[in-house]
Symmetry: C2
Subunit: 156 residues, 2 copies
């Protein structure tokens, strides 16, 4: 299969699963060594899960299939340019390469505003819309220091 | 209960669940109207899921508890400043307020490099480390346009 055929599969998932109106129009596929190891489509409303974006679900399924949280060597195909949450997940999963069809501008025109989140991420806490407060700084740092001294820790 | 006691619960989840070395040292709690409606701790390695960060799991549990993807009015307490994936999820979930203990600098000192992802998000595609390719732009845009014409669509 070619890059285009995997991308068309992602588009097909987006199209068919959004017809009901219940799921957002996004689909994604994770491929490793020419084989599809994970598929996902937006299920935010259907499953009452704000994190159930197509790419997140495709990454989670691929990780289950491969039995590892590390998806190095995998390629992700998405019907649309990933939002900041999904793009961050791509980095955490060590996805090697990304292919997408629609842009964030296309998504914004359909009512999905990723740009707001991206601009918020670029701000400092005091300028973000979600008020954030730090407390118990010492106790917080201690939990992380304890981790660095834990001989059984598994880095990821 | 006070802000500090919810934050201490998040720290306790981080501490106890990371002792085995299997789970990263992060915990989170979602509170609504004074009640804990979701709890989570890092389970990336244990569950082979690169998205299983404490905040993501706490948000998902809260959404299940409340039967809605919309967590407006909820407050999130995290043992550490959220990474870009989790912070984006906080926006998608419409979390009203955030409290955290350790900082991203503390996390970086323990080996968790959120700063790399944050700087990558601020780049354009051609400068990011994950190579990205756009194709089938017209077909991609059409899927989103079809959604805007779908009379059954449920916005989220």
């Amino acid at each position: 299969m070619t890059h285009h055929s995997y991308l068309r599969r992602a588009l097909e998932l987006a199209r068919t699963h959004s017809r009901s109106g219940m799921n957002g129009p996004f689909g994604a596929v994770v491929v490793r060594g020419g084989e599809i190891v994970g598929e996902g489509w937006n299920r935010v409303v259907e499953t009452s899960d704000p994190t159930a974006h197509a790419e997140i679900l495709a990454v989670r399924e691929a990780a289950r299939t491969l039995g590892s949280h590390d998806l190095s060597g995998c390629v992700l195909y998405s019907s649309c340019e990933p939002c900041p949450m999904c793009l961050s997940a791509i980095y955490w999963a060590h996805i090697a390469e990304l292919h997408f069809a629609a842009t964030q501008e296309d998504a914004a025109a359909a009512g999905f505003d990723d740009a707001l989140i991206l601009s918020e991420l670029a701000q400092k806490w005091e300028e973000r819309r979600v008020p954030a407060h730090q407390a118990l700084a010492r106790e917080g740092a201690e939990v992380l220091e304890e981790w660095t001294r834990n001989p059984r820790r598994v880095p990821y």
